[in-house]
């Protein structure tokens, strides 16, 4: 049996929860793995030697950072799971320095709980697999865990949301309905879920690696009449400053 730990840093709880939403597939995973740490689901804790550590959330406190380092130093494989862990997600995009933010919200610059500006875990440690998504596609984590258990290198997705949109034969809402849609510059894997609802892709899986053309997308949105500040914020929402143009 492989030893599995799930570590939650600062986030909405969804990435850990989504593992439980695997339902019967979770029991397939448990044929290969023994859960040694998963504080949302279990009071059991024994995480000194792990084969696989799944880490969700952003590093937003010194405690998060210590936990991340512990997970890295005590596991063979480390999986950064969800857009918080891979790109910073919404809390990573909040602008301003930590002391200014603390003052705005708590009325004091004092930082007794040692908060940090939120950053993705990939900025602090090397990770073996990075699976973005807010939330990520459940099947992806299932496949990665099963592949690791069987000694197979998990495949990586590298196509935009537009591909899945086309496969579903949805109408292009960016071109046809002039609704802002980040599909062309966002990594696919969600089955174009926003477009299914007739809504533009909000970019929650983070930017498409390599071939993304944010400058082109920016120009299209500007021509459609959206102001620069609006587009800038939309690009930034899930991926901080990664999309440049």
């Amino acid at each position: 049996m492989l030893k599995l730990g799930v570590f939650e840093l600062t986030d909405c709880g969804g990435c850990a929860l989504n593992i439980l939403f695997l339902y019967e597939k979770l029991f397939d995973v448990l044929k290969f793995y023994e859960i040694k740490e998963f504080h949302m689901a279990s009071s059991f804790k024994e995480h000194d030697h792990l084969d696989v550590a799944i880490v969700t959330g952003t590093v937003s406190t010194q405690r998060d950072l210590a936990l991340l380092k512990h997970a890295r130093n005590h596991s063979k494989y480390l999986i950064a799971l969800g857009t918080c862990a891979t790109h910073g997600d919404v809390q990573g995009s909040v602008e301003g320095k930590i002391r200014e933010k603390l003052e705005k919200v708590y009325g004091t610059k004092a930082n007794p709980m040692k908060a940090l500006d939120s950053k993705p875990i990939v900025e602090y440690v090397a990770v073996d697999y990075a699976l973005p998504g807010c939330p990520y596609d459940k099947d992806e984590i299932y496949q990665v865990l099963m592949n690791i258990a069987k000694g197979v290198e998990p495949p990586k997705k590298d196509y935009p949301v537009c591909i899945e949109c086309k496969l579903n034969e949805y109408e292009c809402i960016l071109v046809k309905r002039e609704i802002p849609c980040l599909g062309p510059i966002t990594l696919g894997g969600c089955d174009a879920i926003c477009i299914k609802s007739g809504i533009g892709c909000i970019g929650c899986r983070g930017p498409l690696p390599k071939e993304a053309n944010p400058a082109g997308e920016f120009e299209i949105l500007k021509e459609l009449g959206y102001d620069e500040e609006y587009i800038r914020r939309k690009f930034k929402t899930f991926a901080r400053g990664e999309l440049r143009w």
């Binding site: 709880g13 939403f21 689901a41 804790k45 926003c194």
Partner: protein
């Protein structure tokens, strides 16, 4: 000296507690919320209203739809938009899906292991597979409703000011009607299981809820007051926690399932009401652990109500038309009952439709003070008679009764 609970387990998010002992007596308990701050109000400031419900959904995955709906209600009130009954019924159906998913998660996967004596539901499944499976089936059904109404199990984007991106099909509504009826027998069994739990924790002296069962335009309290949150609720910051604490007219209060069934029993569906009557005397004792029994009764309510709503929509047909929303300067509050209790989204929006002020208060933040008091009373009751490990276990069970959502509780702010 002090006893530390490093991290609460089987709860959502990161928090712990410190029990301070002086002269052999429990002097104080501090509930520490050390989940990092996520600054949601700063994030939404200056953003266009249309994108805000999707951002707010990210506050919490377990109750993302409560946040989306509260956000949409706050925005619509700011613009003076009223949507037809059909849209409100669909929103209610989404919230019910979330209740079913969240209560099932809490009762079967997080609390039941305490009752059966296991570290988690996975280890419990080998002996009590039937109970775990029933729980997972109910939870999956709740998630199905969330997917249909919200667009996705977690962080859906379908709930929008003025209506929905996509409306459910007849087949989806028929499936909801049929499956919810079939699952009621499981939920009834859950009521039996949780009715056997020994009461513990503090006694809640004041209850607060929204005026309708799942949402409202005012808050109500057990002293018959009907009010807006800022009239009688005050928040203060603490040096040892990222969450603030609240008082209602200077008193500690509770939000959640127990307050809801106690304040709004007349709005329950027939079978849920009968079960409430059966356990009314027990529930009226007010111990916070009775929240678990109230949640089980709400599971029955949720399944009955989901079926009622699906039937009503099928009978009259779903039009699927959105109300047009024109931004204008305004202020609005959305009050929703998240599974854990009252959730407030309060916005001021400028004439271009951008957010100028935002204040969000989550149920776990409302319950923070009572959680601390409950731990204090439990620690006093057991310190010296139980060994440290068992004591900590008791205290964790007490925290669990609130079904706290710590990720949500850390941003309750005025800007």
């Amino acid at each position: 000296m002090s006893i530390e609970i490093d991290a609460f387990t089987r709860v959502e998010g990161n928090g712990g507690a410190e029990i301070i002992i002086e002269d052999g007596e429990v002097k104080e308990v501090r509930v520490k919320i050390f989940e990092g701050p996520r600054f949601f109000e700063i994030l939404t400031l200056g953003r266009h209203y249309y994108d805000v419900p999707d951002l707010e959904a990210r506050i919490c995955a377990i109750c993302y739809l409560s946040h989306s709906v509260a956000s949409v209600l706050g925005i619509e009130r700011a613009f003076g938009v009223e949507v037809p009954k059909e849209i409100m019924l669909l929103r209610e159906l989404g919230l019910i899906g979330e209740f079913i998913e969240s209560h099932a998660l809490h009762l079967y996967l997080l609390v039941a292991p305490d009752l059966f004596g296991y570290a988690d539901a996975i280890r419990m499944a080998s002996k009590h597979g039937e109970v775990v499976n029933e729980g997972l089936t109910i939870k999956a059904f709740g998630n199905y409703i969330r997917e249909v109404i919200g667009g996705r199990e977690i962080h859906g984007i379908n709930v929008k000011p003025g209506g929905f991106g996509r409306y459910p099909s007849i087949e989806e509504l028929e499936k909801i009607e049929k499956n919810s009826e079939a699952l009621i027998k499981f939920a009834k069994r859950a009521v039996g299981i949780f009715a056997s739990q020994e009461p513990f924790g503090a006694k809640a002296e004041h209850y607060i809820a929204t005026n309708d069962y799942l949402y409202g335009n005012k808050l109500i309290a057990c002293d018959k007051e009907s009010f807006d949150y800022f009239e009688h609720i005050e928040e203060k910051s603490l040096p040892y926690s990222f969450a603030k604490q609240s008082r209602y007219k200077d008193k500690i209060f509770m939000v959640g399932s127990l307050p809801r069934v106690m304040l709004k029993a007349e709005k329950l569906t027939p079978l849920a009401k009968r079960l409430f009557e059966e356990y009314k005397e027990r529930l009226s004792k007010g111990y916070v652990s009775l929240n678990n029994l109230a949640q089980a009764i709400e599971l029955v309510y949720g399944l009955e109500r989901a079926s009622e709503i699906a039937k009503e929509l099928l009978d009259k047909g779903v039009e699927g038309e959105n109300i047009s929303v024109e931004p204008q300067e305004g202020e609005g509050i959305g009050y929703v009952e998240a599974p854990r209790g009252v959730l407030v989204h309060h916005y001021r929006i400028d004439e271009k439709g951008n957010i100028a002020y935002s204040n969000i208060i989550t149920p776990t933040a409302f319950n923070h003070a009572l959680m601390e008091l409950s731990l204090y009373e439990e620690a006093k009751r057991h310190y010296g008679t139980l060994d440290e490990k068992t004591l900590i276990q008791k205290l964790e069970e007490t925290v669990r009764a609130f079904d706290p959502c710590i990720s949500c509780s850390v941003h309750l702010v005025k800007l």
